[in-house]
C-alpha cells in the first residue's frame, strides 16, 4: 500500500439474507432511518412529479418575479417559470445521475478492488497503482476539462465521465476488505475444487462483502450528486434540461440573489443538500453498523481492527 486511507472494515452482521440484514440495520440506527426516509421522499417525488406540481417546469408564460403565492408556491423567476415545478421536476434527473453513477462506479470499484486483492502479484501491483493515481488527480478540474472539450448537451457525457474517473476511492476500501478474506478456508476450498478465478471473485468473495458494497454505493452516489450539480451550477450541464444544478446556474447568471429572488437559488440548493445529506447519513450509519466502536453513547471497549 502506498498511502493510507482510513478504511472502515465492517465486520459481518450474521444471519438472514443481505437485504433483510440491511433493512434491519437501517431500522435500528437513527441516522440511517432519517437518511432512508429522506431518500424515500425524494424517490416518490421523482416518480410522481405531476401529482405534486401542477405547472410545467419549462412553461415560461407566468408573471415573472412573483414572490410566494398560492398558485406559485416558490414564486416565479425572471423568465416567468414556476420555481416549485422546476424543483419538483428537477428531482428525477438528479436521482437518475446519483443511482446510475453510484451503481456503475461501485461495480467498477468492486471488480477492480476485489480482483487486485484476490489475484495478487502483478495484477495487484498494476491495479493498485492505477487506483492510486486516479485517487490523487483532482477530479473536479478534470471533469471541467472533459466537459469543456465535449460540449455535451447529453446527460450521458456527464454520467460517463464521472463514472470513469471517480471509482478509485471505494475501490481502495474494497481491496483492503478483500485482502482480509484472502486466506479464508472457503476460498481455499473453491481453489481446491478447481473453480475459475472469475467464478471465485463473483460467486464466493463479492457476496460476503455486501455491507461494504452498499456503503461504497452510498459514497459514490453522494460524489455523483456533488460533482454533477457542481458541473451544472457552473454551466457545464445541458442548460435546457430541468435539473437542480441547472436551475442554480440560471439563478446565478441572472443575479437572483442581488435582485431579490433568493429562493430561485436557495430552493434547488437546499434540495441538493438534503439529498446529499440522505446519502451521507445512510453512509455514516453504515460505518457505525460495521464498526461498533463508533456507535453513539456506550462504554469504550477494545476494538480489533483488521488492517488492510
Amino acid at each position: 500500500m502506498t498511502a493510507t486511507v482510513v478504511a472502515p472494515t465492517p465486520t459481518q452482521i450474521p444471519s438472514g439474507n443481505a437485504f433483510a440484514r440491511v433493512f434491519r440495520a437501517v431500522r435500528a440506527n437513527r441516522k440511517a432511518t432519517v437518511g432512508a426516509i429522506l431518500l424515500l421522499i425524494f424517490i416518490l417525488i421523482a416518480l410522481f412529479p405531476g401529482v405534486i406540481a401542477h405547472d410545467s417546469p419549462s412553461a415560461d408564460n407566468y408573471t415573472p418575479k412573483l414572490g410566494f403565492t398560492t398558485a406559485h408556491l416558490l414564486g416565479t423567476n425572471t423568465f416567468g417559470q414556476d420555481l416549485w415545478a422546476q424543483v419538483i421536476y428537477g428531482t428525477g434527473s438528479m436521482l437518475q445521475i446519483a443511482f446510475i453513477v453510484g451503481a456503475a462506479t461501485t461495480a467498477i470499484a468492486v471488480l477492480i478492488g476485489v480482483a487486485a486483492a484476490y489475484l495478487g502479484g502483478l495484477w495487484d501491483g498494476s491495479l493498485s497503482v492505477l487506483t492510486d493515481v486516479l485517487l490523487v488527480i483532482p477530479l473536479f478540474p478534470l471533469l471541467i476539462v472533459i466537459a469543456g472539450y465535449a460540449h455535451g448537451d447529453s446527460i450521458w457525457v456527464m454520467i460517463i465521465s464521472i463514472t470513469v474517473t471517480s471509482w478509485s476511492y471505494t475501490a481502495r476500501q474494497l481491496r483492503a476488505q478483500a485482502l482480509t478474506l484472502r486466506n479464508r478456508d472457503f476460498l481455499e476450498a473453491a481453489r481446491v475444487r478447481g473453480e475459475r478465478k472469475l467464478y471465485v471473485i463473483v460467486v464466493e468473495i463479492i457476496p460476503t462483502m455486501t455491507s461494504l458494497i452498499v456503503a461504497s454505493f452510498l459514497t459514490n452516489a453522494l460524489y455523483a450528486i456533488l460533482f454533477s450539480s457542481g458541473l451544472q451550477f457552473i454551466g457545464l450541464g445541458n442548460p435546457n434540461q430541468v435539473s437542480w444544478g441547472t436551475t442554480l446556474y440560471w439563478a446565478q447568471s441572472e443575479a437572483a440573489l442581488q435582485t431579490g429572488m433568493p429562493w430561485w437559488a436557495l430552493a434547488p440548493g437546499i434540495c441538493i443538500a438534503l439529498l446529499g445529506t440522505a446519502f451521507a447519513l445512510l453512509n455514516y450509519a453504515f460505518d457505525e453498523i460495521g464498526n461498533p466502536a463508533l456507535r453513539p453513547v456506550r462504554k469504550a471497549r477494545k476494538v480489533g481492527r483488521a488492517r488492510g
Binding site: 493515481v133 490523487v136 471541467i144 466537459a147 465535449a150 457542481g230 442581488q258 436557495l266 476494538v303
Partner: protein, 328 residues
C-alpha cells in the same frame, strides 16, 4: 528513506499520468475541438505561438502520435504552456501567474485553519465520549460535510454580503477605489473580501476532518498504552494529547493530503460564487471562452499543486512516524 523514495516515484508517475491525460483528451474527443478553436484565431496568431499550440493539440502535423507525444513533452519541459487565446498575446504562464496567489492564499489559510480546528474538535469530541458535545458533533458535521460548496457560499453571500452588508460580496478587493500595494488599507480590503469565501470553504471542509479525527482517536483510545497511561495516573490532558492524539493524527495526515483534491474543487465553486479572481474562476472563464491552452495549463498547475502537497505530507509522515520507515 525507502518509503520517501517510493513516494517520490509515485509522485513522478502521477505527474506523468496527468501530462499524458492532458495530451490525450483533446485528441480523443470526436472532431478535435482544438481545431475549431484554432481556426477562429488563425489570422491573429504569430507563427511562433501558432506552432506551440499546434504542438499542444496535435494540429497541422504529419507526425504520428508517438512523435507528437515526444514534441509535446519536450515543449512542456521547457516551460512553454502555449499562448492564451482569450488574453492574447499573453502566454498562459503569465496569465496564470496573475491569478495563482489569490487561490494559494485563500486555500492555504482555510486548509491550515480547517486542519487545526477540525483536529482539535475531533480530539476533544472523542475524548469526551458520550458527553453532550460528542452527541452533537457527529450528526452536525455529517450534514455539513455533505453540503454542496456553492450552497454554503450562496447562503453566506445572501446573509452577510447582500442582506446585512457586513462584507463585500464579490471580487478580491475594490478594483475601482483601491490600488494594490503594501499598505494597511489594501490588506484590510483584501481581508474583508476573503472572509466570506474562506468561511464557506471552511464550513464544508471541516466536517470530514473532525469525523476522521474523531473516529481514529476513538480507536486509539482503546489501545493498551492509553490504559497504561491511565493506570500510571497521568493527568487527563496529557493522555489525550501526548498518548492518544499524537498517534491518531499520523494516519490522518495522508488522508488530509488526499482530500486536497476536494479542497480544490470547493475553491473553484466558491470562487465562482464570489467572482473571486483565483485560478478556479479563471478555469471556468477559460472553459467559457474556449481558451483551451489556458484551460489545460490551469489543470496541469492544479494537479501539480495537489501532488506536491501530497508529497510534502508523505515526507512529514515519514519524519514523524517511525512505523512508515520500518515498513519501508
Amino acid at each position: 528513506m525507502r518509503y520517501v523514495l517510493r513516494r517520490l516515484g509515485f509522485f513522478i508517475l502521477t505527474m506523468w499520468a496527468a501530462l499524458t491525460l492532458n495530451f490525450l483528451l483533446p485528441r480523443l474527443m470526436p472532431g478535435n475541438p482544438a481545431e475549431v478553436m484554432l481556426s477562429k484565431f488563425h489570422g491573429e496568431l504569430t507563427p511562433g505561438s501558432l506552432h506551440s499550440l499546434e504542438v499542444l493539440f496535435g494540429l497541422n502535423t504529419h507526425q504520428n502520435i508517438f512523435q507528437q507525444y515526444i514534441s509535446y513533452v519536450h515543449q512542456l519541459l521547457t516551460g512553454n504552456l502555449g499562448t492564451s487565446l482569450s488574453q492574447y498575446p499573453q502566454s498562459v504562464s503569465s496569465v496564470i501567474g496573475s491569478a495563482i496567489w489569490w487561490t494559494v492564499a485563500l486555500v492555504g489559510v482555510t486548509t491550515v485553519l480547517a486542519f487545526i480546528l477540525g483536529t482539535g474538535i475531533g480530539i476533544v469530541s472523542a475524548w469526551r465520549r458520550g458527553s453532550r458535545l460528542d452527541s452533537i458533533v457527529p450528526p452536525v458535521f455529517v450534514v455539513t460535510s455533505a453540503l454542496p460548496y456553492f450552497l454554503v457560499g450562496i447562503v453566506l453571500l445572501l446573509v452577510f454580503g447582500i442582506t446585512l452588508k457586513w462584507f463585500p460580496s464579490e471580487g478580491a478587493y475594490y478594483v475601482t477605489t483601491d490600488t494594490p500595494g503594501f499598505n494597511i488599507t489594501f490588506f484590510e480590503d483584501v481581508f474583508n473580501h476573503a472572509v466570506l469565501p474562506a468561511a464557506a470553504l471552511l464550513i464544508t471542509l471541516i466536517g470530514t476532518w473532525i469525523l476522521t479525527m474523531r473516529n481514529t482517536m476513538i480507536t486509539t483510545l482503546a489501545e493498551d498504552y492509553v490504559r497504561m497511561a491511565r493506570a500510571k495516573g497521568l493527568p487527563g490532558w496529557r493522555i489525550m494529547l501526548d498518548y492518544a492524539a499524537r498517534n491518531a493524527i499520523l494516519p490522518n495526515l495522508t488522508g488530509f493530503a488526499m482530500s486536497l483534491g476536494f479542497v480544490v474543487s470547493g475553491a473553484i465553486l466558491i470562487e465562482d460564487v464570489f467572482n473571486y479572481p483565483g485560478v478556479g474562476f479563471m478555469l471556468l472563464q477559460a472553459v467559457g471562452n474556449e481558451d483551451y491552452p489556458l484551460m489545460q495549463g490551469l489543470f496541469l498547475l492544479i494537479t501539480v499543486a495537489v501532488l506536491v502537497a501530497i508529497l510534502i505530507a508523505d515526507v512529514l509522515t515519514a519524519l514523524l512516524d517511525p512505523r512508515t520507515r520500518e515498513a519501508g
